[in-house]
């Protein structure tokens, strides 16, 4: 399959990559603009970054976003792993498929539906809109992706490993702690990172369930962007881009390490 690409094909790929990355670098480029707009580059300045770090309100919002992302990723990973274990233990194929379909509902549902229905749910349950409603919704929509990341690892694990451990006298808890969990760790990490990015990226759901007093970065950017251009956002986006790159690199190394599938793989 490895022929050399024709120049035309190469050109197409280059154009696609250019289009994909141009807007991002465009934002970052103008974050150093002393001119104050996104059209004329007048001179190099770091003022926007300085201003960003002095904007306490925005820093609190960044902090909120990070706290929500980390907490929701952590909790959803725990529940997701439990879910994957439960699904694996189900005997009947039909029950398994039903649970899996239910699991996937939130992945395929449009954000607006999730947001609107959670808004109704929280209002009816009497949960005040704010930190907890946002946290709960982020946990809720991150769980299924964790399940989907962990389940294949569980299924690829040979059942003889568990049988052997049981034969050798391990208790159920020991089996879980010393055999199953170490084996599926790469899946758990992948799930955690996916949950983290889901939470950091989410706008629509948060927009519905966030009250007046609480805001995350996406919601804040939305309201700023509706007012027009301010280069603070550019500076912020440059920082977020670097942050995302770090996440991607970490994620890449986790999945790479995960590849030479360790002992006991069924394949």
């Amino acid at each position: 399959m490895r022929e050399n690409l024709s120049p035309g094909s190469k050109l197409l790929l280059v154009v696609i990559f250019l289009i994909l990355y141009a807007p991002i670098f465009y934002l970052i480029f103008y974050s150093f603009n002393s001119g104050g707009n996104m059209t004329n580059f007048e001179g190099f300045t770091l003022d926007w970054y300085r201003e960003l770090f002095h904007d306490t309100r925005l820093l609190i919002i960044v902090l909120n976003t990070l706290v929500i992302a980390l907490l929701s990723a952590l909790i959803s990973t725990i529940i997701g792993v439990i879910g994957a274990l439960v699904i694996r233990d189900l005997r009947s194929r039909q029950a398994k498929n039903t649970i899996l379909s239910l699991n996937n509902v939130l992945i395929v549902s449009p954000d607006v539906i999730i947001g609107a229905s959670f808004l109704i749910l929280f209002t009816m349950a009497g949960i005040k809109l704010g930190f907890y409603s946002v946290l709960l919704s982020h946990i809720a929509f991150s769980i299924p992706i964790v399940v989907l990341m962990v389940l294949p690892k569980l299924q690829e694990m040979s059942p003889t490993l568990i049988d052997a451990a049981r034969d050798l006298g391990a208790s159920r808890f020991d089996v879980l702690r010393k055999v199953i969990l170490p084996y599926i760790t790469p899946g758990i990490f992948a799930g955690f990172f996916m949950a983290l990015t889901y939470s950091l990226d989410d706008f629509a759901v948060t927009f519905f369930v966030t009250g007046n007093g609480f805001s995350t970065l996406s919601v804040e950017i939305y309201s700023l962007a509706r007012q027009g251009i301010s280069l603070n956002i550019n500076a912020l986006s440059a920082l977020l881009f670097v942050f995302t790159l770090v996440l991607v690199i970490v994620y890449y190394f986790i999945t790479q390490r995960n590849k030479p599938s360790g002992m006991g793989g069924k394949r």
């Binding site: 690409l5 790929l13 990559f17 807007p23 725990i78 109704i120 996406s218």
Partner: protein, 267 residues
Amino acid sequence: MQNKFTRNLFFIPYALWIALFVIAPLLLILYYSFFDIEGNFSLINYQKFFTPVYLKMTLSSFWYAFLITLISLLVAYPTAYLLTKTKHKQLWLLLIIVPSWINLLLKAYAFIGIFGTYGVANSFLEVIGIGTQQILFTDFSFIFVSVYIFIPFMILPIFNALDELNPALVYAAKDLGASSWVTFRRVIFPLTIDGVKSGCQVVFIPALSLFMLTRLIAGNRVITLGTAIEQHFLVTQDWGMGSTIAVFLVIIMFLIMLVTGKRKRGV
């Protein structure tokens, strides 16, 4: 006996999640769709949905989603195909995915700058002699930005399908005298149709429900089902009507999933 008890205890968090955050929200949406704006039980929302205003909106929403999906597919398929032929294809794929991890709002914001009256797009048009055009707040900008955002999600499943394709089949077709086009039409495309289907699924459903892009990029000129739901829930506070549209969106979603079938997923 004791085992079974601990096992059920173990099951609780995940089961609770399914009950509270998957099933309950869907039921609540259905329930709310039967109430008018004053909170009386009625079918008026359904009657309203079948008036020309809402039907026209649904149709135009479908039309936009269709265009977005089609264009994404037309760009994504060749790109994915060429990607599978590059050296280090996993790395290139990762580079395609990175922009999809950048916050959606930031990308939309970048395009406000690029497509603005004095933005680069217009300076470019000026240079090649077409002159300044209104780009932002048009159908073109809406579709362009949507395609931009969805392209990675379309490329990923198609790439995976193409990557799994056994090259021997392609060689066989060529040996037997098929032209490149016939090979593509009769061998490559049918064998990767699953990837195309899941790509269309992950683009079409969100494209029906986009709402911040319609506000930021299309300047309220385009109204999708998602925009309508957001409008009813957060602006006019007519939760009943919003829920009714949501019910239809959920039905459409299930229909699309039936059509595009298979449990295989891309993202």
